[in-house]
């Protein structure tokens, strides 16, 4: 499934297949006075089986990068390959279908539907993939069990704490066994201990062979969970860290 590519100098390629590859992507919002260049030629790469953190100060373009990788936002120039599929030139409908099959989402604001029960919320990606209702709810209940909320299936999200809601969101992101999981600031709406709990879950439950987890964060408490970190600054990648450099970076920031 890997796409042959010339790795940028800063990220030496290993034997593991590439999950996401972004080359020279630019994105500008607005025109005239309100013009903002959010991405100024970004190269970015993740491998399968990896928990990859994208860090950097607020406004540096992390969310924008995540959005174009997820195919939820158009970009201006550059190439994007996700799980061996080139997103350039794909129709909106095809990208939507691709997303539904292969990508799981976890949002800062959880984005659970308040009028549905937890089981129903978790079953949504399965239903969208054509799984029958009964089967989908069964799987959803099992996943809630896995994130430690086996007894909360019939509750509504609003009856749960923030940390519990984010665990429901994790169960939802995992339910259709996507190969890429995309998380935007999953801990920043949570207190310290809960944030750690969520990161524990993401690094155990979400991580699987062949699956890549990308987490955007500016929360240094989460750095210790990373296999690799891409640090962004002002619409560009500042550095990519792994191995000793990563350990040193984590020690420095925590």
């Amino acid at each position: 499934m890997s796409v042959p590519f010339k790795a940028p100098a800063s990220t030496p390629s290993s034997g593991t297949p590439t999950a996401v590859r972004v080359r020279g992507v630019t994105k500008t919002f607005g025109t005239g006075d309100s013009r903002t260049v959010a991405l100024k030629g970004v190269d970015f790469e993740t491998r399968e089986g990896e928990l990859h953190l994208v860090v950097g100060p607020s406004g540096c373009g992390k969310t924008t990068l995540l959005s174009v990788v997820a195919g939820t936002l158009d970009w201006d120039a550059g190439e994007i390959d996700v799980l061996g599929t080139r997103l350039n030139g794909m129709s909106k409908a095809a990208v939507t279908a691709f997303r539904g099959r292969h990508i799981g989402f976890i949002f800062q604001q959880f984005n659970l539907i308040p009028t549905l029960t937890c089981v129903e919320n978790v079953s949504v990606p399965l239903l969208l993939n054509g799984v029958h209702r009964h089967r989908a709810e069964q799987t959803a209940a099992e996943l809630l069990q896995r994130v430690g909320l086996g007894d909360k299936g019939r509750k509504r999200p609003t009856e749960l704490s923030g940390g519990q809601q984010q665990r429901v969101a994790i169960a939802r992101a995992l339910s259709h066994e996507p190969r890429l999981i995309i998380c935007d600031e999953p801990t920043s709406a949570l207190d310290r201990d809960t944030g750690h709990h969520i990161m524990d879950l993401l690094s155990t439950a979400a991580r699987a062979p062949g699956r890549c987890v990308i987490i955007v964060t500016h929360d240094p408490r989460t750095y210790g969970y990373a296999d690799r970190i891409t640090e962004m600054e002002d619409g560009r990648v500042r550095q990519v860290l792994e191995g000793d450099a990563l350990r040193h970076y984590v020690d420095q920031h925590t």
């Binding site: 939507t96 989402f105 949002f107 984005n111 539907i113 549905l116 129903e120 239903l127 935007d184």
Partner: protein, 379 residues
């Protein structure tokens, strides 16, 4: 996904009730007003159904069934002599003053039937005998007549009782059932000759000539022949009904005032359901965006919105038409206001509700189609 769409809809209690309530109100208003209007229209031709004649011959300037312009007595024989006419009889109709048993003035619709045949007789006798109209000073009254001519707080008048028409005695020999006349006056039947004695004396007293065609002759052809040969107007019963309804449409403000209310109901329905549904979509935009991010196509979301819109539409329609029917059951025994709920009225309401639902869903679908799923990443 569709069961979740319904849960999302009904989970928002306030908007759900507002939507169903708005659509119920619109469906009720449109159906009820239409039924009252249709009822009123049917009243305009009830006179024709009460007399049940095939051909109505009237004065040349009569434009609708509830108008009376007198004919000459000799016209009866002129009609009789037209080829294809089996028989023709005179009829008197006029609004006269009567006194109830307390002496209070009441208006009545006096019908004078041809004595020998009693042709044009009321559709159903409830008591007494129509034949006794051949005795002097006798009348048959309808149920409304019993009601109107009875004095307050006393037992209703019955066969054998008398009252006054134009200061002349009228003895009741029968009670009949009729369809209510457009003018709302009770029917009082007498013989033709008797009616002429009750009515104020005028040069011409004949109101209508009722005619029947010979067996095998086409009614319309005979009517045309009568018209051609006598210079009078001759309508078949159906034609007379049609010109009467046309007359109401062209010459009265009645249809317009009903239409106004019905259109108002439609506009209220469109506004309330459109506005409420749109704000429901706006409130759920974030969740719809999340669904889109998770792979729901615009087509899938559109079908969810259509299902939601049509669910409230169907419930609102059912409740609205149901309430209109209940209104009908409540007023029909009273006889006021008129009420005639036809399948075509219900279909018209259904079409209007479908338009409202489509409009509401369209507003939402347009929003959802333009929705960038990336909004879900924004705080």
């Amino acid at each position: 996904m569709f069961h979740l769409a319904l849960k999302m809809l009904m989970g928002d209690r306030a908007k759900y009730i507002m939507l169903v309530g708005g659509l119920t109100f619109a469906a009720l208003l449109m159906t009820q007003q239409n039924a009252v209007f249709q009822g009123l229209l049917s009243w305009t031709t009830s006179h024709l159904r009460n007399m049940r004649a095939s051909i109505w011959v009237v004065e040349a300037h009569v434009d609708y069934a509830n108008e009376t312009k007198p004919l000459r007595d000799t016209d009866v024989n002129r009609v009789r002599s037209v080829k294809g006419v089996d028989f023709a009889v005179p009829m008197f109709q006029g609004i006269l003053k009567a006194k109830d048993s307390d002496g209070a003035d009441k208006q009545i619709m006096l019908i004078g039937l041809h004595g020998a045949t009693l042709f044009g007789r009321p559709p159903q006798m409830l008591a007494g005998s129509l034949q006794q109209l051949r005795l002097p000073n006798t009348v048959v009254i309808d149920e409304l007549g019993v009601q109107r001519l009875s004095a307050k707080g006393r037992p209703p008048i019955k066969i054998g009782d008398t009252f006054e028409i134009n200061d002349r005695e009228a003895r009741i020999v029968g009670i009949c059932r009729t369809e209510r006349h457009f003018f709302g006056y009770p029917y009082v039947f007498s013989s033709y000759d008797q009616a002429l004695q009750y009515a104020p004396r005028q040069r011409k007293m004949l109101s209508v000539i009722l005619a029947e065609p010979k067996p095998g002759a086409a009614i319309a052809d005979v009517a045309r022949a009568i018209q051609r040969e006598t210079g009078l107007k001759a309508y078949t019963s159906e034609e007379f009904a049609k010109v009467t309804v046309d007359y109401i449409w062209k010459n009265t403000g009645i249809p317009m005032s009903f239409m106004t209310t019905i259109i108002l109901g439609f506009i209220v329905g469109v506004a309330v359901s459109g506005q409420t549904f749109f704000s429901f979509v706006l409130e759920n935009l974030r969740h719809l965006g999340a669904l889109k991010a998770m792979g729901a196509s615009t087509w899938m979301l559109a079908r969810m919105l259509l299902l939601q819109a049509f669910t409230v539409g169907m419930i609102g329609y059912g409740m609205g038409v149901g309430l209109a029917a209940l209104f009908g059951f409540a007023v029909l025994p009273v006889g006021q206001p008129p009420f005639l709920l036809e399948a075509s009225s219900m279909i018209k309401t259904a079409v209007a509700i479908v338009v409202m639902c489509c409009f509401s869903a369209f507003l939402g679908i347009r929003k959802v189609a333009r929705l960038e799923p990336a909004i879900v990443f924004r705080g």
